[in-house]
Amino acid sequence: MAILAGALGGDVDRAEEAVQDAYAVALDRWPRDGVPSTPAAWILTTAKRRAIDRLRREASLRDKQALLARELEDAVRDLPGEDEAMIPDERLGLVFACCHPALAPEAQVPLTLRLVGGLTVPEIARALLLPEPTVAQRMVRAKHKIRVSGIPLAEPAPDALADRLAAVLAVLYLIFNEGYAATAGDAVVREDLAGEAIRLARIVHLLLPDEPEPAGLLALMLLHHARRAARVGADGDLVLLEEQDRERWDRAMIGQALPLVDRALTLRRPPGPYALQSAIAAIHAQAARPGATDWRQIALLYAELGRVQPSPVVTLNQAVAVAMADGPAKGLHLIDALARDGALDRYHLLHAARADLLRRLGRPAEAAAAYDRALELATLPAERRFLARRRAECEG
């Protein structure tokens, strides 16, 4: 505490207060996250941070802007959700409130991480690669809106449940993809974010065990996450699915996911989009090598997915699966129709898939042109290398 008091300009009261704060945080955190390797240093760091927070709070209260901030804080004080020991109904209500369509989409993600996931503002800022004040501000505004505009902390009415649940799952999937895509930032932190999304999906699944889509989303996340060790090569680049070392897939996690896939597919007919996507991921996960993949089944699942959630990307995936199951000519027929439609003209995978089928059909000049177009649009190094290699083969 003496060190701290020194750092705080000799203010012992303030140092003591800060250390008390830090112990409170430790009591809350350590049982959950484990005791840090250097507890004393942890306490000191946390206490310092708390003291700075307090000082900032006190200093900023002097100007008007901060007064407004305090009013907002007062306004949200009676909002539940900051404590862990919440009864399930409250927690479920909170999930729906955090993902309410009346809230700005950019507020839904941090709010869900904070109120449902229990992450701190600095943790959220780090995970989303946003400045802390931005996250804090979005949070305060969103909590204020929840309270003042009367967003209920409750499960929605039955006739609205499907849409509102879809909104909740979309937020969770967005969080997961932030972690999974790993397009920027510290890879380790991002993997934490994917793990956090899985934890949240598990909570929603446990709260709504008879709803198929939360089970489907949870399964889908687990199946993607099971490949995390094989997704990144020694050079730090993304490894394509076909080239991944399947020995490095997390079999235990796949084992957890498969019963959830079954549940998601059978709880309600026809299955929803997450259930179908999890079923597709499950087929990949169960193939011992790429050649053993049941493409016919995947093609059927994509066709079904296209019915419940029509999108050109789904059609493209269906075409690729058809090509794998029934030969390149059938697949090319579907892809050419899609190419004429034009919606995916700037999507490199359309051109890459088309190029691949033309190559397999022995039409190298057309294949080369399609590879060139794909290369114009692709950004990931692993994909670019793969495409360039195939492009070169067309000339031989």
């Binding site: 009346a102 003042v148 505009s149 009367g150 967003i151 209920p152 929605p156 009415a157 609205a160």
Partner: protein, 118 residues
């Protein structure tokens, strides 16, 4: 909680309707008005004359400065309102969604700022 349900429509929509369409539209509004008042969630709701009839007043050094308008900056204009008294935003959203204008205009929900009397 109380909300003001604000109804925004493009006035040209009505100008483009024939007699039958106009009657059908009016019938929807009367149904809605009956339902919302019958459910006891609104005791006050009115339609407004078009913005061409609007008058704007600002103070100009102790005298009222009166102008014609405001003139439309957007096509959709405030055309009517209901004062709602419901449990929460979800219930207000249900009523907003049932409003005939939701199919050809926009419906905005604003919570009423309640002041403590004292």
């Amino acid at each position: 909680m109380r909300y003001l349900l604000l109804i925004y429509t493009d006035q040209n929509v009505y100008a483009g309707m024939n007699e039958d369409e106009m009657q059908a539209d009016m019938a929807k509004w009367w149904d809605y008005d009956g339902a919302i008042k019958g459910a006891g969630v609104s005791s006050l709701g009115e339609a407004l004359q078009p913005t061409t009839t609007a008058t704007t007043v600002v103070d100009d050094g102790g005298k009222p400065l009166v102008t014609d308008g405001p003139f439309a900056e957007t096509r959709e204009q405030l055309g009517g309102f209901y004062l709602l008294d419901v449990e929460n935003l979800d219930q207000a959203i249900e009523w907003a969604h049932k409003c005939p204008a939701a199919t050809y205009g926009k419906v905005e929900l604003r919570p009423i700022q309640e002041f403590e009397q004292g």
